[in-house]
Symmetry: C2
Subunit: 118 residues, 2 copies
DNA sequence: TATCTTTGCTTACTAAAAGTGAGCAGCTAC
DNA sequence: GTAGCTGCTCACTTTTAGTAAGCAAAGATA
């Protein structure tokens, strides 16, 4: 173990990889948060995440569905209505999301901080 | 707020984005863990992360250095010796790494679990 | 002395992924 | 009727990732 406070044990890497396969990438966690904050419709999600495109959103939603983190529901119409929602299992990602959010908040302060003071 | 337990406030998204810009992608966190577990040399890191290529490793190391998470040190030789180490600031990512690791561990169980049981 | 290996990369090349802009069928609103 | 919204998809370009090879400097092996 090196002189850092980390002390990750060697079994960290495989688990981390497993997680990263599901969750890494710019969009997946953002989409989950969007869903969790009440955006259930395709266009709605799209608008709530600036920068994402229909194409990527469609693909990411499919991935998330395959990983059992969200559910797609079609209410036959007319008009046909498609709804996305986070499944309970997705809540297990909360610690990840919170940790990232907190780190991001702090990191921004670290980077912008000095220039912004006084 | 929807009927999930998440209840992310609206300011989650920007912070999450900030974090994801620094940390998302398949390799960065794995590299940090590799460094933290005692792999300090380029080849050493490369070998400790199966699947990564020299090219990507070189690029990721540059990124991490720019983000002030690691330091590259050249000890003039001969032989010239290049060493990478995590900076103390990188420890602030521990909660993220732990959360992901734990989730990954659990997710694997969820996916493999049923098939593996007795 | 020759050659083989290791180190820390870089360079071409290819494959995959992400981003861009348009569009489309089905419906509603005016 | 024509303009708009919805949930996408398609064709295309750009960016990123991955693959294989190689290279200079040094050390070890023979």
């Amino acid at each position: 173990m090196p002189a850092t406070s980390m002390g990750h044990c060697l079994t960290t890497l495989p688990s981390l990889r497993d997680a990263l396969e599901v969750v890494s990438g710019k969009w997946k966690l953002l989409i989950l948060v969007a869903l969790a904050t009440g955006h259930q419709r395709f266009r709605d999600i799209e608008r709530s995440i600036p920068g994402i495109s229909s194409k990527v959103l469609a693909k990411e939603l499919k991935d998330l569905e395959q990983h059992q983190l969200i559910r797609r529901t079609v209410q036959e119409g007319p008009p046909v209505l498609v709804t996305y929602e986070v499944l309970p299992y997705a809540d297990s990602l909360d610690p990840v999301i919170f940790a990232l959010r907190d780190w991001g908040k702090n990191h921004r302060k670290k980077i912008m901080g000095p220039a912004v003071e006084a």
